[in-house]
Structures are given as structure tokens and as C-alpha cells.
Symmetry: C2
Subunit: 188 residues, 2 copies
């Protein structure tokens, strides 16, 4: 029985205007994609000019960093609720299913959070590990957990980019991955 109830690390809360900025950034990002998320556009949306944003954040990267944290926390949350209480053997498929659904639900946010290097120095300590822990809980062994995580990330990335040959049945691809890893999880 998997106990996935460990609480997420606490982020220090943002003051009012900063929180508005991040919320707006997320809306723009999700609604119109990464290209639409510019400082000027963000300013427009908030009724201010782009340079004023720098009174609240050091730059665009700092705003995006908060969104990355949100994405990591929500992913961790989703994965946990998908596997909590299950036996490890039967948890692989729900884990992968939840990963895919969460990513496809917020595609641009997922890309933002997973593309390019993670700015670990700015991140709230522990969020990265906390978000990835479900893979370890299910697979029982770090390298296998990383392999499964990588496969999930690879499949999502390729799907989001429309990289699979047109007409591919992705459900079956995910099933193939799940059953390949499923047989090997938690071997002692």
C-alpha cells in the first residue's frame, strides 16, 4: 500500500500585486501559448506598462519561476492522488495516466516547467524532489523511477509537439510503456 500523503513544501506567499501578475501570466500563457507571454502583453493585461513589472519581479525569468513551482506542485499533487492507497504493482498505469492528463491539461505550463535547465537556485527547496517522489514510491528503486519518469516526459513532449506520426494511437503507446515498466516495478 502506497502512502503518498507527505505534505508539499511551503512556498513563501506573494504579496498582492505580485500574485496578480503571476495569475495573469498563467492565464495568458495557457490561453495563447508561450509566445504570447511577453512583458508588454502582461503589462497590458494588468493595466500597466511593461517596465513597471520590474518593480515586483527581477525579470521575466522570475515570474516564470513561480509558474514552474506551481506546475511542479500541481503535478506532484495529481500523481499522489492517483496512486495513494494502491499496491505498487497496480500503480504504474494510474501514475502514468495521471502524468499524461496533468500535462495535457496545461500544455504550455508543462512545457515551461520542463523545458530547458531548472533554475534550482531560485526554487523553493524540496519542490523538485516532492514532485518526483511518486515515481519512487511506485517503482521502489531510483533508477527505475527515473526511467519511468523519463519515458512519461518523452511521450508527453512528443505528443505536445505533434511529433508522433499522424494517426498514431497514443493510448496504446502509453499502455505499452506501462506494461513494460509494470512487470519490473518494485522487484526486490
Amino acid at each position: 500500500m502506497i502512502d503518498a500523503s507527505s505534505p508539499p513544501p511551503e512556498r513563501e506567499p506573494l504579496s498582492g500585486r505580485a500574485a496578480e501578475i503571476v495569475a495573469t501570466a498563467r492565464v495568458v500563457l495557457e490561453a495563447e501559448g508561450a509566445d504570447a507571454l511577453t512583458m508588454r502583453r502582461l503589462g497590458d493585461e494588468l493595466g500597466m506598462k511593461a517596465p513597471s513589472l520590474y518593480k515586483h519581479f527581477d525579470g521575466k525569468a522570475a515570474i516564470e519561476l513561480v509558474l514552474v513551482e506551481e506546475a511542479l506542485l500541481e503535478m506532484g499533487e495529481a500523481l499522489r492522488s492517483a496512486i495513494d492507497g494502491l499496491r505498487t504493482v497496480e500503480a504504474v498505469e494510474p501514475l502514468l495516466r495521471a502524468y499524461r492528463r496533468t500535462a495535457l491539461d496545461h500544455p504550455s505550463l508543462y512545457r515551461l516547467a520542463t523545458l530547458g535547465p531548472l533554475p534550482r537556485e531560485g526554487l523553493t527547496p524540496g519542490v523538485e524532489d516532492w514532485a518526483g517522489e511518486p515515481f519512487l514510491l511506485v517503482m521502489g528503486e531510483p533508477h527505475l523511477a527515473q526511467a519511468v519518469w523519463s519515458a512519461a516526459h518523452g511521450m508527453v513532449s512528443l505528443e505536445l509537439d505533434g511529433r508522433y506520426p499522424p494517426g498514431s494511437d497514443l493510448d496504446r503507446t502509453w499502455t505499452a510503456a506501462a506494461s513494460a515498466f509494470g512487470r519490473n516495478g518494485n522487484v526486490r
Copy 2:
């Protein structure tokens, strides 16, 4: 016994100056990364001004497209030579090993070729399939092949972005993936 000897699709050759441009683009890309590959920089390197590049290519994307084709062909080549003559069961690990080595050998080129949507309309017909075919040859079934390819792509992407926790033993991660998929390859 895998017969991986099918010939690559032929690209129509580039005229002299165009070939120089692409070659230079590749050098700059690999030596200094994607950010360094700008039209002005490319012009400098070739002793001309950025707008003159438009006499040879429609734009930056057109130059990159040729590089993408090169990357796909070289990947297909590497994968083929890694698995040719092997029995399918024992080919999974060499396949993955070759994938990783090729990608890490030309990291920026790999990223260029795999990031974002594939501009299929501009691509020489057949290169995409040809590059991916080794996965099908080894795994025997399309969805399993796609799963393995996805896992390889995911692991490479995360490695290139420094996304694995510091100190991770990636060799073991790849081995874990190989053995998970190895047991299931070519089941009828």
C-alpha cells in the same frame, strides 16, 4: 537477424554557397549553442551581411530545416549500424546506447531536430520514417517502438537539460530502461 540496410532517402543537393551556409550554421550551432546561431552571426562567419543570406534561403527556419534533416539522417545511420546483424532480443541495449551517444555527441543539433513541431511539409519525404525505423525493426510492434523511442528521447532531453538530480547515475537509468523494454521486445 536484423537487416538494417535499407538506404536513406536522397536529399536534393545544395548549391555551393547554400551548402557553405548550412555547414557554417552547424559549426556555430554545435560550438556555441542555439542562442549563438543568429542571422547576423552567421553572416559574419561567412563574410557577408545577414540580409544577404536571404538570397540563398527563405529565412532562418529554412536553414535550420536542412540541419534537422542532417540530424535525422545521421541518427538513422547510427542506429542502423548499431543493430545491424543482431538478434532482436539483444538489440535493445545497443539501440538505446547508440541513440544516447549520437544525441550527446551533437547536443545542440539534437535539440534543434527534436524540439518543437516538425515542419513536415518542408522535409524530404521519408527521412522521418527512415530515422525512426530502427526502433520498429528492434521492437517489432509500432506502439512498443514508439514507447522505446519516447523513453530514449525523454532520457536524452532530461540529461541535456541537466534535469536529473545532481549525482544521478544515468548509465543505470538507461540500463533500467533497456531491461524493462528488453524483456518485452518482439513478443508476438
